[in-house]
Symmetry: C2
Subunit: 349 residues, 2 copies
């Protein structure tokens, strides 16, 4: 494969010196870009787009043509694993992801298999390989997965949830079944991320979107514990380079010290914590990725520049910062404002 021309992102995740703070945007390939909407319309459904390696590659690269980003992220969905387990993922208008066959009983959990990523998830690996070829070493490619707890919430609830009554009902009334489900998911995610690394992912990120909905001990037992197991099982080097691992629990700012002990290289931060304070708390253990409120992008260029500068100042001197939003970019954001953000990160660092 081609030599990497811009390795700022990988270097910052490993706290090696960088010339400028690297930047990428969660959900950078997405609906806020008209060119994405055009490709999506050609593809058919959202899953048709995810399952087509050529089109997934096309949308992955679109934001790089507009913005001076320091990383690309695989275009895919976080729910590919439960889909490959046979739950029948689909998207209903306005309601987000749904499963045809939610998993609610001990027997259903016992019957679940661990998917072979080069079989039922081969379309993801093909996308990774295609993107790496087309990137041609311009910037590194990030692979990713949902966390076991986050996947379990959708699998048990049957889709998105506000209160997580069903999955937390299982947590409190039948912990054995939930632990079995999470163990199977941890094994599946480990295989899945290792396959992405073998296919060419140069860093991986675990998205624990719903870990912040848990009580502190439940977070450690039902979410963090399984993410630790995944991190232990990951292939951490590929093609002679370290493959950094980023851990992101939305709403997890209280638990950064625990997260930093998992052996990951970096923590993703949402916007509810000052990044300077986060750095003080985790010390030298990990790099930090984040953490602008995505809603700042609804404002004007001057405000965006001020907010970017403030976060860079709050982080302070030295390497170990990857600039990002604190969560995915919203669909109604003006792409021009994203350009302002990306350029400001490089200007002020």
């Amino acid at each position: 494969m081609s030599e990497l021309k811009n390795d700022r992102f990988l270097r910052a995740l490993l706290k090696e010196p960088v010339d400028k703070t690297p930047v990428w945007i969660m959900r950078q390939a997405g609906r806020y870009l008209p060119e994405y909407r055009a490709t999506r319309a050609r593809a058919g459904s959202f899953m048709d787009l995810c399952e087509n390696p050529e089109l997934a590659c096309e949308v992955t690269l679109q934001p790089l043509q507009r913005f001076d980003l320091d990383a690309a992220i695989l275009f895919s969905d976080i729910l590919t694993i439960p889909d490959a387990m046979g739950l029948g993922l689909y998207f209903s208008e306005g309601e987000g992801p749904r499963f045809k066959h939610p998993v609610t009983s001990a027997a259903q959990v016992a019957a679940l298999g661990v998917p072979d990523p080069e079989e039922s998830l081969r379309y993801v690996m093909d996308a990774v390989r295609t993107i790496r070829r087309e990137l041609d070493g311009r910037v590194p490619l990030i692979g990713f997965s949902g966390s076991p707890w986050t996947l379990a919430t959708y699998m048990v609830e049957g889709g998105s949830s506000k209160d997580f009554g069903k999955v937390k009902g299982m947590l409190y009334s039948d912990p054995t079944t939930l632990h079995l489900l999470l163990a199977k998911l941890a094994e599946s995610v480990t295989h899945y991320l290792n396959a992405q690394i073998r296919a060419g992912a140069q860093a991986v990120m675990i998205f624990d979107t719903w870990g912040g909905s848990l009580a502190p001990q439940a977070y450690r037992d039902y979410s963090l514990n399984y993410m630790s197991q995944i991190i232990e099982g990951l292939q951490r080097e590929a093609q002679g380079r370290k493959v950094p691992v980023v851990l992101f629990t939305k709403g997890g700012a209280q638990w950064l010290e625990n997260m930093a002990e998992t052996g990951c290289d970096a923590l993703g931060l949402d916007w509810t914590i000052n990044i300077g304070e986060a750095r003080q708390r985790v010390g030298d253990k990990v790099a930090l990725q984040g953490n602008m409120d995505p809603c700042v992008l609804y404002s004007d260029p001057e405000t965006i520049r001020t907010q970017v500068q403030q976060i860079i100042r709050d982080f302070g001197e030295g390497s170990g910062h990857v600039f990002n939003l604190g969560h995915g970019i919203h669909q109604h954001i003006d792409p021009e404002n994203v350009k302002v953000l990306v350029d400001a990160v490089h200007e002020f660092s």
Copy 2:
């Protein structure tokens, strides 16, 4: 008015000695109770129920007939103030609260008045007076309001929101207008809570349901700042007794130290923090209310009892704890499990 027979709740909020830990449940008068659903069906719409003092009193008292609760809370909605400002509150099936006339421009904010609580909100004061009469001193009555920031989110978004794009867009692009809106709301909430206290509320609680969606500095500037102003303006004594103030920011566990500096008597905690850790952080400054995950109530009596006992142990010795859930009770909870919780609090403390 009758002498108060059970003042555990008021004493614990002021950290005075108590024989047992007091307990009440956020949204204790609500849809999980069949008798509530029956009254609601008789009333018509949800707002018809809120606006009828006799029926609001009836549902307020229903949970006290079933459970050994140490406080009653006024049955009302958090959006009564914006409704009284003329925004036209209504409830659409499955979508929650909506406003006919959201406030999105500087001119609309400038045109808003501060409601007189004994005029357009008189139905709330009448409910307070009726409930106090019917309670006959059995337990204290809690009055409440939404926080300015939380009210503003609904007023600008036009209803519930996932991402708060509109109101945060205003925050970042037109802070002057948002500050004007929040100042009017702070003044309105101060009048509203003082009127509730004059009508008979023996403690008041400010619900900042959406403060946790803000970045730390924005939380201090746009939510906490206005709650501090309200607390400063409150009448803190009535009928020869102190009227304690409880401040609750959902998702605000990171900011407890700041919240404790507002002059409130107690902090409401959601379930994402260990209550013992919270107590260490705020020290002697305030009492604490909380903080069981509402989803524990989906489980069995033995698990509920264990979780109650754990929270009481985590809080530790001494007064200053009011037991509660970390957020409102869910509608599908079995009332029998609420009885288990309430009895366990008194048994284990």
